[in-house]
């Protein structure tokens, strides 16, 4: 992956233990916590915890990616915006995500590596259903920003996943 064109500003405030990424607060968490949270939601009774996780991810990235693009009006083309989203995903540590084939109508995104696959394998071992719920929400949120759509416009489904033995994770994006 080329990481030359886009630069993300990250600042650490040692006296407060706060990390600012392009003006918003972020923090670093390990696979025990990230997967523990996902598993807890998956096992919740009474609500669809995984849907809550995906929709919240979509909403959060809709908000923050929108802020990011407002700070960077130099990124004008759809191609640039898709690429910077992919590199933000990489910068946060989630792996290699190819968004280049997505259009306003949706399409297919692919990931050759996935944080949640690596993390889940390390924490809980093999599972037999896709695990990249974070990526589904992320893709929906950033696409809605890039194509100037409202929240809930896109539905993303992971149809192949590295964790079940597929060669890569494949996300089908559908405009609702």
């Amino acid at each position: 992956m080329k990481l030359s064109k886009f630069v993300f500003t990250k600042k650490f405030y040692p006296e407060k233990n706060l990390i600012e990424f392009e003006g918003s607060l972020i923090s670093l968490h390990c696979h025990h916590f990230n997967c523990g949270l996902l598993k807890g939601l998956e096992e919740l009774k009474g609500i669809d915890g995984l849907n809550l996780f995906v929709k919240t991810t979509e909403e959060v990235y809709y908000h923050f990616f929108s802020d990011y693009l407002k700070r960077h009006p130099e990124f004008e083309t759809i191609e640039d915006k898709l690429q910077v989203a992919s590199e933000m995903y990489y910068a946060f540590g989630y792996g290699l995500l190819d968004l280049s084939n997505l259009t306003e109508n949706g399409g297919i995104a692919k990931a050759r590596s996935s944080y949640y696959v690596t993390a889940w394998l390390a924490k809980y071992g093999r599972r037999y259903s896709p695990v990249c719920y974070f990526t589904c929400g992320f893709i929906a949120g950033i696409l809605e920003v890039i194509f100037n759509k409202s929240l809930g416009t896109y539905r993303v489904k992971e149809i192949n996943c590295l964790i079940v033995g597929d060669d890569y994770c494949k996300f089908e994006v559908e405009k609702i």
Partner: protein
């Protein structure tokens, strides 16, 4: 105590984290990723606010355990690393120094600044944080809370005691318990945590 907390913070907050060829961050025996603080607040708060009290308690217990695992293994990975042995171990003369060093190390992850209020060797640790992200958001969105919401710091506080005063790693996890006795989400001016030994 001879711990230079600022030096530890400076060491562990400088530079980029190591990644493999696929972009995954692996360090201290754990896989790490960044996310917006608002993400964690929203996911957790919405889950516990939408389910029954019984289910909310269940997920709170799971979260506490997830953070305890996270802290116990991450901090152990850090304290057995070469950097720690070279830069931090020379400062550590007593178990209490090690607790202080681990807390300093915690203060690089972007979750708010944790301080020691009281440490009774082998028995009790009281910590405090004034700028944790989540409690202010709970207060803003849901009003005063009936109990503390800082699962992260509560489990971290127990983990320092588990690592330093519990049975040798990895058998010490869960030796101590921790309560959040004050929380900004409840209207207090800061969040405070008290870790004590579980009854034997």
């Amino acid at each position: 105590m001879a711990i230079d907390a600022q030096k530890i913070i400076s060491i562990y907050s400088s530079g980029e984290l190591p990644r493999d060829q696929k972009g995954i961050i692996g360090i201290f025996g754990i896989y790490a990723a960044y996310n917006y603080n608002e993400f964690f607040y929203k996911v957790v708060s919405r889950a516990i606010m939408q389910v029954s009290e019984e289910e909310a308690e269940k997920i709170e217990a799971q979260l506490y355990q997830a953070v305890l695992d996270c802290a116990y293994y991450t901090f152990h990975g850090a304290r057995t690393s070469m950097t720690w042995k070279q830069e931090v171990s020379p400062m550590i003369k007593t178990p209490e120094d090690e607790v202080e060093a681990l807390i300093a190390f915690t203060n690089v992850f972007g979750i708010g600044y944790l301080e020691i209020v009281e440490l009774v060797p082998g028995e009790k640790l009281v910590t405090r944080v004034s700028n944790a992200y989540d409690p202010a958001r709970y207060l803003e969105e849901y009003g005063p809370q009936p109990k503390g919401r800082c699962y992260m710091f509560r489990a971290c506080t127990a983990s320092y005691m588990d690592l330093v005063y519990g049975p040798r790693f990895p058998k010490g996890i869960g030796t101590f318990k921790c309560e959040e006795v004050k929380c900004r989400s409840m209207g207090h001016p800061y969040c405070e945590f008290v870790a004590t030994r579980k009854e034997r």
